[in-house]
C-alpha cells in the first residue's frame, strides 16, 4: 500500500526519531541496561574488585545467599523499612493535605514548613537526627523526659534503631507526598463535595467515599514515588548507623555496599543486587496489579 515517496517519508521520520533517541539510549544502555545485565552475569561468577580474573561459580553465590543469615536479615530490614515508612508517610501526608485543602489562613506557610525537609540533603538530615536522637544530650530524650516518659537509646538500641530511621524518613518525605496529594485534592470539582454535603454525608465519609477514590490515581503515583525514594535509605544507614547496632539497620543496599566495597566481593554483591532489583521491581508490579486497576479517573 505504501508507495515510493510515502515510504521515503516514513523512513525519514523513523530515522529522525532514532537519531533523537540516540543520546538518551547510549547513556541508558551504559548506565541502566548494561549494569543490570552485568549484575546477572557477575552473580554466576567469582569477581573481585580490582582484579581481572573471573571464575565461573554457577549457582554457588545463590546457594551462599540462601544460607546467609545476614542477607535474610537485611532483606527483612529492607521490607520492614519500606512497608512501614511508605504507608505511614502517605497516611500522614494525606491527613496534612486534607487539612490544608481549605481556605486556611497561613496555608502557604504551613505547606512550606511541612515541605522543606525534602530540600535538605539526606546526609545533613541524617546527621541532624543523630544529634536529635543522642541518648545523653539529644533534645528528643529531653522532650520525652519533660512528658515523664522514659528515655530511649534510639540509634544505639537494636530494637529502636530502625524505628528511629523510619520516624526521620516520615519527617523527610511526608511533605513531598502531601504536596502531590494536595494538587490532586485541588483538582476535585468542589460541587462534588457540595453535593455530598447537601446529601448529609459526614466529613469522614466524604473523605473515605469521595475524596480518596477520586485521588486514587495520585495515591497510586505517590506509592510508586515512595518505593523509589526508599532506595535512599542507604544514605541514612551510612550516615546514622553503619548498619548497626548488631545489623539491626543493615538493609540490602548497605549490605551490597559492604560486600562490594568493603569485602571487594563483586560477585556476591551482584547476587544481592539482583535480589534488590527483584524486590523493588516485584513491589512495583504488585502495587500496579493491586491498585492500578482499581483507581478512578476523573474525566478523561
Amino acid at each position: 500500500m505504501v508507495t515510493g515517496p510515502a515510504l521515503r517519508a516514513h523512513v525519514r521520520e523513523a530515522g529522525l526519531a532514532y537519531l533523537l533517541l540516540a543520546p538518551s539510549l547510549v547513556f541508558l544502555a551504559a548506565f541502566t541496561y548494561w549494569p543490570i545485565i552485568r549484575s546477572v552475569w557477575f552473580s554466576f561468577h567469582d569477581v573481585m574488585l580490582g582484579s581481572d580474573k573471573i571464575f565461573f561459580l554457577g549457582l554457588e553465590n545463590y546457594q551462599r545467599l540462601w544460607t546467609d543469615a545476614l542477607f535474610w536479615k537485611s532483606l527483612a530490614n529492607t521490607a520492614f523499612y519500606t512497608l512501614v515508612t511508605i504507608p505511614s508517610a502517605i497516611a500522614c501526608a494525606l491527613l496534612l493535605a486534607v487539612a490544608l485543602d481549605s481556605k486556611l489562613r497561613g496555608m502557604t506557610f504551613y505547606r512550606s514548613a511541612f515541605f522543606y525537609p525534602v530540600m535538605i540533603p539526606s546526609v545533613a538530615a541524617g546527621m541532624v537526627w543523630v544529634f536529635l536522637y543522642a541518648p545523653g544530650y539529644g533534645p528528643i530524650n529531653h522532650a520525652l523526659a519533660l512528658f515523664g516518659l522514659p528515655k530511649l537509646e534510639w540509634l544505639y538500641d537494636s530494637n529502636t534503631a530502625m524505628i528511629a530511621i523510619i520516624i526521620m524518613s516520615i519527617w523527610k518525605y511526608s511533605g513531598y507526598f502531601m504536596l502531590i496529594l494536595l494538587a490532586a485534592l485541588q483538582m476535585i470539582p468542589s460541587d462534588l463535595h457540595e453535593a455530598a454535603r447537601l446529601d448529609g454525608v459526614s466529613a469522614w465519609n466524604r473523605l473515605i467515599h469521595i475524596t480518596i477514590p477520586l485521588i486514587s490515581p495520585t495515591l497510586y503515583f505517590v506509592i510508586i514515588i515512595g518505593l523509589l525514594h526508599s532506595y535512599q535509605i542507604f544514605d541514612y544507614v551510612y550516615v546514622m548507623t553503619q548498619g548497626g547496632p548488631a545489623d539491626a539497620t543493615n538493609v540490602l543496599t548497605f549490605y551490597i555496599y559492604q560486600n562490594g566495597f568493603q569485602y571487594q566481593d563483586i560477585g556476591y554483591a551482584s547476587t544481592l543486587a539482583n535480589v534488590l532489583l527483584l524486590f523493588v521491581g516485584g513491589l512495583i508490579t504488585l502495587v500496579a496489579l493491586v491498585f492500578g486497576r482499581r483507581v478512578h479517573y476523573l474525566g478523561r
Binding site: H10, E13, A14, A17, L20, P23, S24, F27, L28, F31, T32, Y33, W34, P35, R38, S39, L96, S102, L104, R105, G106, T108, Y110, S112, A113, F114, F115, Y116, P117, V118, M119, I120, P121, S122, V123, A124, M127, V130, F131, Y137, P139, H142, Y176, L179, L182, A183, F221, L228, Y231, F234, Y238, V239, I256, Y257, G260, F261, I266, S270, A273, L277
Partner: protein
Amino acid sequence: MATLQDPLELSAPATSRGTLAHMRATLRRNWLHVLLLPLLALWASPLVWIVVTSLKTRVEVFDPNAGFLPAIAQWSNYPAAMAVAPFGTYLVNSVLVTGGILICELVTITLAAYAFARLSFPGKNILFTLFLLQIMFPIYATFLTNFVTVRELGILNSLPALIVPFVASGYGTFMLRQAFRQVPTELADAARLDGCGHLGILWHVYLPLVKPTLVAFSIIAVVTHWNDYMWPLLVTNSESVRTLPIGLGLLAKSDSGADWTRLMAATVVVVSPLLLFFVIFQRRFVDSFMHAGLK
C-alpha cells in the same frame, strides 16, 4: 497566627443563622490550627535545632541545664567550620556537577520526548518501556556494577564520573513527553506550513510552550543532584572532586560527633543555598513538586 475561639463567644446564644454559621466556620478553621500548629512545631524543630546549635558553645550543647538559646551567639563557629575543609572547592564542584547534569538532561530529554510525543517509528512502545525501566531501576539500584563500569572507563574520582550516569532521564523524558502531547497538533501543522522542519517546530513551538514543565523538571533535578550523597560517595576519594554533601559527611566523620556546633554551622552552609532559593521562589518550587507527574 491562629486566633483561638473566645469561649464567651461560643456560649453566646445564636442571634441569627448567619452568625451561627459564621461561628461554626471560624471554629472549624481554628480546630485545624489547633491540630496543625503542634505538627508544624515538630516539623520545624530539626531546622531550628540546626540553627540554634550552630550558634552555641560546645559546653552549652552538652549541658542539660543550659537554655534552649545560646547565651551569646557564637558566629565564630561558621568560619571555624569552613576552615576545616575546602568548602569553596566543594561548592564549585556541586555547581559544576549539578549544572552539568541539568544541561545534559535537558538536551537528552527534549530530543527523546519529542520523538515519543510526535514521531511514529517502529519499536516505539518497546523503547518507551525501556525508558520507563530507568525510573524503576535508578542508579541507586545498580550502583555496584555502575561503579565497575565507571572504573573501567578510567574516570573514577573525576567530575565526569559524577555526571555521566545521570545524563539520560526516563522520568524527565516521560514528563516532557506528557507536556508535548498537550500542545495542540494544529500548532505543529501551522509551523510546518510556516516552513519549519521537526527541529524548527521543536525549538520555535514546543519548547517555548512547555517552559513550565522544563522549569519544574529543572527544579526537581537540581534538588535531587545537589543533595545526592550515595553516588558521589562511591566514586570520589579526593578533595578536588568532592561535592558539598560529601564534604559535610566527611566533616561529621572526622569530628567523630564531638563538635556539634561546627558541624551544624557547616550544615547551615550546605542546606542554605537550596532553602534560600526555596524561600525566594516558593511558588515555583511548590508548583513544580506539586504537579510533577500529574500532567
